[in-house]
């Protein structure tokens, strides 16, 4: 609460200058107050963490904790694994959902509620239940199947250097967010008319998808992608319980050995995620402005 004190002046300040066009002034004042409160709420823990990582009680200011990250064992591999998983998840989930949603919109509107419920379902199933199911399936592999491709598939998806099973799990977890983002994007354009106009101009279905739908769905695709990215980078439960080590699991593992470094890693991962989101969103908007 002490941190709130500096926020107080703008709040009390706002109503004081009773300017003529009172409403916008007061509105701006309130907006500022909300912004300050939100900023305090989010930035205080971050700043506190940052101070904790750079302040050594003995030597004073030091960036050792950050430098340590890069030399720590498993950092690069786990980060690359997470990014790889994120990329694979984004591609898979978009390839699965976009054609399905288009098909439902264009030729089976009555299936739309079904699709919506299916895609929202992962929100209500706790990840822990989900992972319990997955691990049961993965463990199930009777000996008489040992020589079949099925059994080998079960083994292959669990390859620790690139666990496909995590991509599958992440796709399911990302479905609700991707569905919402794409649904909003598709809702913003007259899909049926655009598709029919393109078909009328002689475009085949792949052409319609690539040249008409995707260029006009950029913001929807971008927000679906970065929601998925954020989700995959932060996903812990499934990866941990299946015994893989992407970035989020690695952070928890490393935090046991070095307190300052574990916090430094958290801040680092936060900045990294922000950076990636920023890149994705600016890429989306720049292309839109260009067009």
């Amino acid at each position: 609460m002490a941190a709130l004190t500096p926020a107080a002046p703008p709040v009390t300040d706002a109503p004081a200058p009773a300017r003529r066009p009172g409403r916008p002034r007061a509105g701006r004042g309130w907006r500022g107050a909300v912004l300050v409160i939100a900023a305090v709420y989010f930035l205080t823990p971050l700043l506190a963490s940052f101070v904790f990582t750079v302040n050594d009680p003995v030597t004073g200011f030091t960036l050792d904790a950050y430098l340590e990250i890069f030399s720590a064992e498993g950092f690069v591999s786990s980060l690359l694994l997470s990014l790889g998983l994120a990329a694979a998840t984004i591609v898979t989930v978009l390839v699965l959902t976009l054609p399905a949603m288009l098909a439902a919109r264009l030729s089976a509107p009555r299936l739309r509620p079904v699709l919506e419920v299916l895609c929202t379902l992962p929100l209500v199933v706790p990840p822990i239940t989900f992972v319990a199911g997955i691990s049961t399936v993965l463990r199930w592999g009777p000996d008489y199947l040992a020589t079949t491709p099925f059994y080998m598939t079960l083994i292959a998806v669990q390859n620790p250097s690139f666990p496909v099973v995590l991509v599958i799990a992440n796709v399911v977890l990302a479905l609700p967010f991707v569905y919402r983002a794409l649904d909003a994007g598709l809702g913003a354009m007259d899909v049926r008319t655009l598709v029919e106009a393109a078909r009328n101009c002689g475009a085949s279905w792949p052409h319609v998808l690539l040249r008409v739908i995707i260029p006009n769905l950029k913001s929807g695709l971008a927000s679906a992608s970065f929601l998925t990215l954020a989700l995959v980078l932060g996903e812990y439960t499934v990866a941990r319980l299946l015994g893989f080590q992407p970035f989020s699991v690695w952070i928890v593992t490393i935090s046991g050995s070095n307190a300052a470094m574990s916090v430094a890693v958290s801040i680092f991962s936060l900045l990294l995620t922000w950076l990636l989101l920023l890149v994705l969103s600016t890429a989306g908007t720049r292309r839109r402005r260009q067009s």
Binding site: E196, A197, R199, N200, G202, S204, N216
Partner: protein, 357 residues
Amino acid sequence: MNGAQVEFRGLRRAFGTTVALDGLDLTVAPGELIALLGPSGCGKTTALRCVAGFETPDAGAVLVGGEDITRVPANRRDAGMVFQSYSLFPNLNARDNVAFGMRVRKVPAAKRHARAAELLELVGLPSQGGRYPHQLSGGQQQRVALARALALEPSVLLLDEPLSALDAKVRVTLREEIRRLQLSLGITTIFVTHDQEEALSVADHVAVLKDGRLEQVGTPAEVYDRPATPFVAEFVGTMNHLPGRLDGDQVEVIGQRLPVHGEVPAGPDVDVLVRPETVLVTAAHDGDAEVVTASFRGASVRLRLRLADGTEVLADLPGHDATRLGPGGRAFLRLVRRPVLVAPRATAPAKVPAAGV
């Protein structure tokens, strides 16, 4: 003539329990502009979409240039379409929208740009090629859509209420331009509309549809002057329903005997269908009709008159003739001597014609 003949053969299409097309038979001659006219839900748009390939009929066939195209996918049909809602690709500028179809067919860039510029000029937008759809007005967007529909030199042009989203003035100029373009290109055009004025003013033939069936097809003058059925009479233009009494092949209506045109119903009591412009009004102090309302329309005035027996009659007369006929004025009514259409007496008591167009 670049146009092809379009033929609908026994076209049927049902959506669940709603029958949109119920055995439509219609032939469109090469190079003509035919208007499919009817109230909403009469199947006119469904018929058009069957030609475009967006709808597959349950039965029957669509023939273009004598070839059955009923099962041909939409992207391999030779028909350009302009949609009711704005259908330009938002991510492309006007030029690229027009060139879209040529790009699909891999026409070289230089050639398709030249052709797009030519088409934009044709639709009156020579300098707007670089603009994006959101920078164009509704009328301009529909012009670009028209250019896009013509870009691949189709043998049929399909217009699905292309003017209904535009304001009145633009609507009139654009429909005239569409007609001018259509005549100069000689392209077979099917124009779907629910606006009878639009249909009558631009089409070579008007096909009036009702409940998925063809009610009448004919030139605008035929459809207006000799409606084949009471429905057509009612839908195209405004109609008075006057009580009349059949007597052989003549009918007695407000003190006059007129020959009956078309089918003669059974009962002696009938409704006589009379256009407002065929009602002649003569102002007179001792006239048997009283003016209830008079609405001035510039060139003409529409009067609503009440006869002694309570029947209300709409009459159109030239604006300058009506100066003495304000509400409350009295007049004599007479009908132009020509064959009239009669319908069986509707049981509904009030026979007040709608004051529509």
